[in-house]
């Protein structure tokens, strides 16, 4: 035996650390029923919620104060059921069974009560102390759905509370019910009406469990042992104090019971009955308590869906919306970026003065102010405004319920590439930031498809690359139009460039699944949630805090050392030439072959921490300057580039290389954290780089023919 009782129980408690004096309240529910909203409203903590099924993966904890008493609320992962053994479901059921919260609140969606009641019935097999919170009552009213809550409470023999968590309605009553149940806990766990033979075998298993430890005498555990003896007992062994002998007793008992049932049911698949039983009971409960006109309730959603999913309008609408989001981001970020840059750069001189006052050597002062600080200020000024606009827009579309529909529409295309439709979303998120996109890949269930999505996320150019793309597009491909027309034109060209990146995403996904990540597309089911009007304020707060600041924080940690490195390379010289010049001279032949030049390649290498600084580095190198400088205008920049032998070929190849090269350091770090594998991180760097080198060389070769 590898694990002692002590070490296993220590492991189990390390996963959820709670003090003995705390009153634990678990919050369970289907995905997308406003569970996180209930959690936020009760605890006042801003935990991320989203109109995307199954997003909360880790456990969130918060304190809810009600009538002078503190309750520790734990937000369990949203799951449709607790039977299938996905990681989230295992966490949720283990928590309720072994952590034994005083009360478990099951949040239900009033507009889809039947499906939600299935989970209530499953949880009732784990604990008797359940409060049902029927949320989204306001939406149900709008859809003319009537629910007889008193009758539901009577049938379930549980407290049932109506709520509209978004407007904080019913939450006090919910906490009243919780408090009351905490004071008068119930012990008798209600049983479902399983067929007699099955119930008999379940009782036998429960008897054995009770003998081992009354704490494990839970119908749900007996049910799981009967249904899936090997895996259930394995996880029981890992997360409880049961020893090897106990497990073996249970195992042989389970095998005997299964044999009895096999003989009784002969050709029928009796494990199906275990699943069907709560489903059918939920249906009966709903039939007795809910009055609704299904077609009427969903009329508006279906009308919108018909347009969004129509053969002719669906895809163009999606592209148009992408174009619009990009345009708002670009046009909106322009002025704040300039203001922020001016402000941050104005602090450079005082900083240098301050550092000098500290009696630091002159070289160090210049390195810190002109090297580190200037790069840092540059990154923040270019990165922050577009992200602060893009992420709220993205979150808004997410909360609206539009994004799952994008996945629905694009699923076939991704399935052709043997990938998952949800990859469409992670790709979209990549437009904001590839690191955020890589984290978003968690929504993809199949490990193979999640890896494909992670490895190809970088083909979606992020906000950091937009400025580079736009300035090159504007300098070499746009006329001299000004103002609104120009920003529209650049958004259009940018969209085309992005579609090129999307094409590469499909191609590489297909190639990957034909080679190293071989396999057929796994099955998937995707919920299309009802359209909901997002709450603007919450969208703003959440997207700024959860996504923008998070990404900015990571970017700053890598931009600072990069700034120093850049300064050293530009200012330390050998034989009268700076290291930067040496490096670009060395890389020049390769750069020329790819239609670029040595300076551009070096700029991309040094731009590893943040793609925003690629163009500034190019300018700095061309002007043989010691620190980053900004050009007064695009035309001045174009003149400088033309003087350095830039042609249309150089512009095209640079565009391609911006689109296809290694991910930035923040993204690489994130890929490593998500995959926990050096191999896949290396693959994520190599794949786009090889694509870029090949595409650039090809483009250069072809363009030179003319």
């Amino acid at each position: 035996m590898g694990l002692t009782v002590q070490s296993t129980s220590a492991k189990a408690s390390r996963r959820f650390q709670f003090g003995d004096s705390e009153t634990l309240i678990a919050l369970a529910g289907n995905p997308n029923v406003g569970k996180s909203t209930v959690f936020n409203e009760l605890t006042g903590m801003n935990q991320h919620t989203g109109n995307w099924p199954g997003k909360t993966v880790a456990l969130a904890k918060g304190i809810a104060r009600h009538q002078e008493t503190d309750y520790t609320l734990v937000d369990l992962p949203g799951t449709y059921s607790l039977i299938a053994n996905s990681a989230e479901e295992a966490i949720a059921s283990e928590f309720i069974c072994f952590q034994k919260p005083a009360v478990t609140i099951v949040v239900c969606d009033a507009t889809a009560l039947q499906r939600n009641l299935n989970l209530v019935l499953q949880i009732l097999q784990m604990t008797a102390n359940v409060v049902v919170c029927v949320n989204l009552m306001d939406e149900a009213r709008k859809k003319k759905i009537e629910i007889d809550l008193e009758k539901l409470s009577e049938l379930l023999q549980l407290p049932v509370v109506a709520a509209s968590a978004r407007s904080h309605q019913g939450l006090d009553a919910l906490m009243d019910a919780v408090a009351q149940l905490c004071e008068h806990p119930r012990t008798q766990i209600a049983c479902l009406n399983y067929p007699f033979v099955i119930q008999n075998e379940l009782d036998r298993l429960r008897g054995q469990l009770r003998m081992l430890d009354p704490a494990y005498d839970i119908p749900w555990i007996a049910l799981q042992i009967l249904n899936n003896p090997d895996s259930t007992l394995k996880s029981l062994y890992a997360s409880t104090a049961l020893n090897q002998a106990d497990i073996e007793t249970l195992h042989s008992l389970a095998l005997r019971s299964r044999k009895v049932l096999d003989q009784t049911y002969k050709n029928d698949n009796w494990p199906d009955l275990l699943i069907q039983c709560p489903v059918q009971q939920a249906q009966q409960l709903a039939e007795q308590t809910v009055t609704m006109n299904e077609a009427e309730a969903m009329k508006r959603d279906r009308q919108i869906d018909r347009i969004l999913f129509s053969r002719w309008a669906g895809i163009p609408l999606m592209i148009l919306l992408l174009c619009l989001v990009l345009w708002i981001t670009l046009a909106g970020a322009n002025i704040p970026s300039q203001m922020l840059a001016e402000f941050l750069f104005s602090l450079e001189a005082p900083l240098a003065k301050f550092l000098t006052a500290l009696h630091l050597p002159g070289v160090i002062v210049t390195m810190l102010s002109e090297g580190m600080y200037r790069v840092l200020a540059w990154v923040v000024a270019v990165m922050l405004p577009p992200m602060a606009i893009f992420f709220p827009l993205f979150t808004y579309l997410e909360d609206l319920g539009y994004l799952p529909r994008v996945a629905f529409n694009l699923d076939k295309t991704f399935a052709k590439a043997h990938a998952c439709g949800k990859q469409a979303l992670t790709t979209c998120m990549g437009f904001g930031c590839n690191a955020a996109g890589v984290i978003g890949c968690r929504i993809i269930d199949s490990p193979r498809e999640r890896l494909i999505a992670i490895l190809t996320n970088n083909f979606a150019p992020c906000n950091g690359r937009f400025p580079t793309l736009i300035s090159i597009l504007t300098m070499f491909f746009l006329g001299s139009a000004a103002g609104l027309t120009q920003s529209l034109q650049s958004a259009l060209l940018l969209t085309l460039t992005i579609l090129l990146g999307l094409g590469m995403t499909f191609l590489v996904s297909r190639l990957l699944s034909a080679t190293v990540l071989n396999g057929v597309p796994s099955s998937f089911t995707l919920e299309l949630p009802p359209y909901r009007r997002p709450q603007l304020g919450k969208v703003l707060v959440r997207s700024v805090f959860d996504r923008t600041l998070f990404v900015l924080g990571r970017a700053i940690t890598v931009a600072a050392p990069a700034g120093i490195l850049l300064w050293v390379m530009a200012n330390v010289g050998v034989q009268g030439q700076s290291l930067l010049a040496w490096a670009s001279g060395f890389l020049d032949p390769l750069g020329r072959f790819m239609g670029l030049d040595g300076v551009i390649l070096v700029a991309f290498l040094l731009g590893f921490p943040a793609n925003e600084i690629v163009i500034p580095i190019i300018i700095m190198a061309y002007m043989a300057n010691g620190s980053l400088i900004e050009m007064s205008s695009l035309s001045a920049m174009k003149d400088l580039f033309l003087a350095q032998d830039w042609t249309l070929t150089t512009a095209v190849c640079t565009l391609i290389f911006v689109l296809f090269h290694w991910p930035c350091s923040t993204t690489c770090l994130t890929i490593y954290k998500e995959t926990k594998s050096v191999k896949w991180t290396a693959a994520a760097i190599l794949i786009p780089t090889v694509c870029g080198v090949v595409c650039c060389s090809l483009a250069a070769f072809i363009l030179r023919l003319f």
């Binding site: 799951t79 449709y80 059921s81 039977i83 299938a84 507009t111 889809a112 009560l113 039947q114 499906r115 299935n118 199906d272 699943i275 069907q276 489903v279 059918q280 939920a282 249906q283 299904e294 969903m298 959603d301 279906r302 869906d305 018909r306 999913f309 129509s310 053969r311 669906g314 895809i315 629905f408 529409n409 699923d411 076939k412 295309t413 399935a415 439709g421 796994s522 099955s523 998937f524 089911t525 995707l526 919920e527 299309l528 949630p529 009802p530």
Partner: protein, 81 residues
């Protein structure tokens, strides 16, 4: 009026039908049962995506998209009109 059996992917949009047999295997079988798709469940195909696949179904008050290759192995019955 008689009752006809076929696989779910053959049901035209808007036509109500009832699951008679779930032939799916592996993870998709559990996924489908999770969302309440078991023997006897009623469902209606609501809308097709741009490319015609997957199709969104109304299942127990929720809209769930299922791919064509998965709905092939779900047997259903419906009234013939």
């Amino acid at each position: 009026m008689s009752i006809v059996q076929c696989s779910l992917n053959q049901i035209p949009l808007g036509k109500r039908c009832k699951v008679t047999q779930l032939n799916s295997t592996g993870s998709i079988r559990t996924r489908l049962q999770d969302i309440g798709l078991v023997q006897g469940t009623e469902l209606i195909p609501l809308v097709k995506s741009c490319a015609g696949d997957p199709v969104a179904y109304l299942i127990r008050g929720t809209v769930i998209a299922i791919r064509d290759k998965d709905s092939r192995s779900i047997l259903v019955e419906h009234d013939e009109e």
